[in-house]
Amino acid sequence: MKIKSYDFKLKLYDPKNMDIDVKTLVYSVVDDEISEIKGSDEPITLDDFIDFDREFSNNILITFTDAIHGEFKGVRKIHVVEGKPRFILKVYLIRLNGEKHRLYRVLRIKDSGLEDVYMDRLYEPKPEKTRIENVSKIIGLPPSKLPFSLGSKS
């Protein structure tokens, strides 16, 4: 199975100033192991319209319309998933107007595709400890096994 992710930089001046840089790390959870799945870079095209919005509209409120609005540079990354992981974990490393944020998203592989199980939202901030505990509970691994243990810097 192939999973898409996106890395991008966007500078907006209208209707408001925004300078955002997003990198996405993708992990697979197989049994009680978690491992990163590296992706191969491809250019973003107009065909990414819908997928880009699915990826970023809810968690960081960025849409394809914003990409059109501002100075946008980005790549699509394709991650090849081996076997059948219990979960896919996406970690978004975000620098928004100079401030760092880290958001988590847990997905489950179903016959119809990927299904969201958990998603952090940038504008409804909860302490990272709470969010990591949420992720840990869902995927059934202790927080120490997660890729970003508490207190580490992205």
């Binding site: 209707p15 819908i50 509209s57 809810n58 409120l61 394809f64 319309t65 939202r121 409804e124």
Partner: protein, 625 residues
């Protein structure tokens, strides 16, 4: 089980398109008369089933042409690129927003229909000033719809939406007692009656209240003419039961001129304010309800129910009365809470020359008001809607409870408050440093969010509050007994809805809300819209999608849940036409109430009776004696 009674193949011709663009779409309609006693849960079940059938269809309802990026031309300065629609075939297009000759314009190019250029905002300086006040919202954390289609063909709401709803509209009926020449919405022209049952309404309102993180608390009951419903008072009660703290009814008010007791019942049921059409002070500009307005205001006074006057502004038609409309509002400030102006949205195939003639944008209206009030209300007294977001941020930081934020696009709306003293109009900005105060509140909210003690910040704010107010320039009645500071303290200490309401009683709210049309459509504005409609299938759709692309949102959904006219007439035992309003001008102008209401604003003797009759009839309202 689906309740289709009709599953018709309808030929849809994309407006302005060639024969190739004719597409077959299926029309779905539920057997609405079989649902008269259905509970809200049944409507939820039916809505869930039928919603996918009502969604826009790619290739049929819309095309996507994003390969062409419109270029800037000589003498043009880039503002931004955006996404827009072709006004002729609804195709999704890239557009450029730019400055030229002191104005802001939008231009796009449709492969089928060529280049379309439109005024976006009539004053580039005010555009920059307003842009400084943009704040974005926090979106919808539990969207009703998954993302399947591009924006704006996926409305319902989906997770692309950046603002939570500020005000939600509920269409209670498409029946109307008027038949205004420009309206295609009302039942007789639409060919069906859309009138949801009380349980269906309850379902829709529950659907609205489900949205997170902030469901709407303000509801507008609209139409058609919602006061034609015999159970309108019940609808208001249901809205209150479902958690809407602010309920307003959008009406011409004509029924209240004749039935003052209805105003009392509406207020007692929980209506907070009427939102009343009012296109000018003379019969020339306001043939819709000019003669009835004085009586409506009397009914509202007796009922102690406030009203917001709502002029639709059409350049060259009623814009010369902008100042007079505000003065009329101030004359009746005991009952008029505000004047909320709506620059016209141009619907249909309006040629460019005609558009340039009729088009008025928010800054054009603001500058016209400045001229017509001899500078008493200047262009710098206005602030864009999202400028009040720091108040929400501050109160939320203090209380720790989520607060509604009005995070529309800055180009969508503007507002100010004015007070009247003798013959002088005093905008709030003359005695309150509104900009400074809002920036201060934002700064303090951020300090609390970064961990500073909210008690210390609150104390600092209370001490600092006086520095933003110059009481010597405030209206007398606000200076007396420190009423102004009391209002401000209450709003920022008590931070409740009532304190704001009390402030309103001393002030006339002036607002502008410019709804878009297909010529100036900008998806950056749609995604930030906070004035929504709830549709009969439970989708919640931004105003400028619902009304700007009615054929795939408003009309399709309402028709699916409607009665045929014959069904409705059989059910009610009444003819649809029997509700049509006939005006007795002689009777209306003979009473002192009429004369007094316009005294000092408009000379009611300046128009002959014959001319008045002609104006009413030309508009579509018959006159009887």
């Amino acid at each position: 089980m689906l309740l289709y009674v009709e599953r018709l193949n309808i030929l849809v011709v994309n407006r302005g398109g060639s024969m190739d663009s004719q597409k077959i779409v299926e029309e779905f309609r539920v057997d609405y008369k079989s649902l008269l006693d259905a509970p809200p849960e049944k409507f939820e079940e039916i809505a869930r089933q039928i919603r996918p059938k009502l969604m826009p269809k790619p290739g049929v309802d819309f095309n996507v042409y994003l390969t062409e990026t419109p270029e800037l031309k000589e003498g043009e300065e880039l503002v931004t690129w955006t996404l827009s629609l072709c006004p002729y075939c609804r195709s999704l297009l890239k557009a450029v927003v730019f400055k030229r000759d002191g104005k802001v314009w939008i231009r796009k190019r449709c492969p089928e229909h060529g280049e379309i250029e439109e005024v976006y905002w009539g004053n580039a300086e005010l555009y920059e000033r307003f842009r400084e006040w943009q704040y974005d919202g926090r979106g919808i954390s539990n969207p009703h719809l998954d993302i399947v289609f591009p924006c704006p063909f996926n409305c319902g709401l989906c997770s692309r939406h950046k603002s939570h709803p500020g005000l939600v509209n509920l269409v209670a009926t498409n029946r109307c007692d008027l038949s205004c020449w420009y309206c295609f919405f009302y039942a007789r022209k639409a060919g069906y009656v859309y009138e949801p049952t009380l349980n269906h309404i309850r379902y829709m309102l529950r659907q609205v209240r489900k949205l997170k993180p902030y469901p709407a608390i303000a509801l507008q009951i609209t139409g058609g003419e919602p006061l034609l419903r015999d159970d309108i008072v019940e609808i208001v009660k249901i809205a209150k039961e479902e958690g809407f703290t602010h309920v307003q009814v959008n009406t011409t008010g004509i029924k209240l001129a004749y039935e003052p007791e209805l105003a009392v019942k509406l207020r007692e049921a929980g209506t907070n304010v009427l939102y009343m059409s009012f296109d000018g002070v003379s019969p020339y500009t306001n043939p819709k309800n000019h003669w009835e307005v004085p009586y409506i205001l009397e009914s509202l006074r007796k009922a102690k129910l406030g009203v917001v006057l709502v002029p639709t502004l059409i350049n060259g038609v009623n814009t010369r009365e902008l100042g007079a409309m505000i003065k009329f509002g101030l004359k009746h400030v005991d009952i008029v809470r505000g004047v909320n102006m709506q620059p016209i949205s141009l619907v249909g195939r309006v040629p460019r020359e005609e558009r340039l003639k009729l088009r008025i944008t928010i800054p054009d209206a603001i500058i016209e008001i400045e001229k017509q009030t001899d500078g008493q209300i200047s262009r710098y007294d206005w602030y864009p809607v999202p400028s009040v977001t720091p108040i929400s941020h501050f109160i939320e930081a203090i209380t720790g409870k989520p607060k509604i934020e009005l995070t529309t696009h800055f180009a969508c709306g503007a507002a100010t408050y004015v007070f009247k003293e003798d013959n002088e109009i005093i905008p709030i900005t003359r005695f309150v440093d509104v900009g400074g105060f809002l920036r201060y509140l934002e700064e303090k909210a951020q300090e609390i969010n970064r961990g500073r003690s909210k008690y210390i910040v609150l104390l600092e704010t209370l001490i600092k509050l006086r520095k933003f107010v110059d009481l010597s320039k405030a209206p007398r009645r606000l200076r007396e007994k420190g009423r102004l500071l009391k209002h401000l303290y209450r709003i920022f200490i008590k931070h409740d809805y009532r304190s704001l309401g009390e402030f309103h009683y001393d002030a006339l709210f002036l607002g502008m809300m410019h709804f878009q049309d297909l010529f100036n459509h900008d998806l950056a504005r749609v995604q930030r819209c906070d004035v929504h409609y709830v549709m009969p299938d439970g989708r919640e759709v931004p105003f400028c999608t619902f009304n700007v692309i009615p054929e795939i949102y408003r009309d399709r959904a309402q028709k699916a849940f409607s009665f045929t006219i014959r069904e409705w007439e059989e059910l009610t035992g009444r003819r649809l036409i029997s509700y049509k309003y006939k005006r007795n001008i002689k009777k209306l102008i003979s009473n002192e109430i009429y004369r007094k209401a316009y005294e000092g604003i408009f000379d009611v003797d300046s128009v002959s009776y014959e001319e008045q009759v002609k104006l009413s009839k030309r508009f579509g309202i018959p006159v009887v004696e």
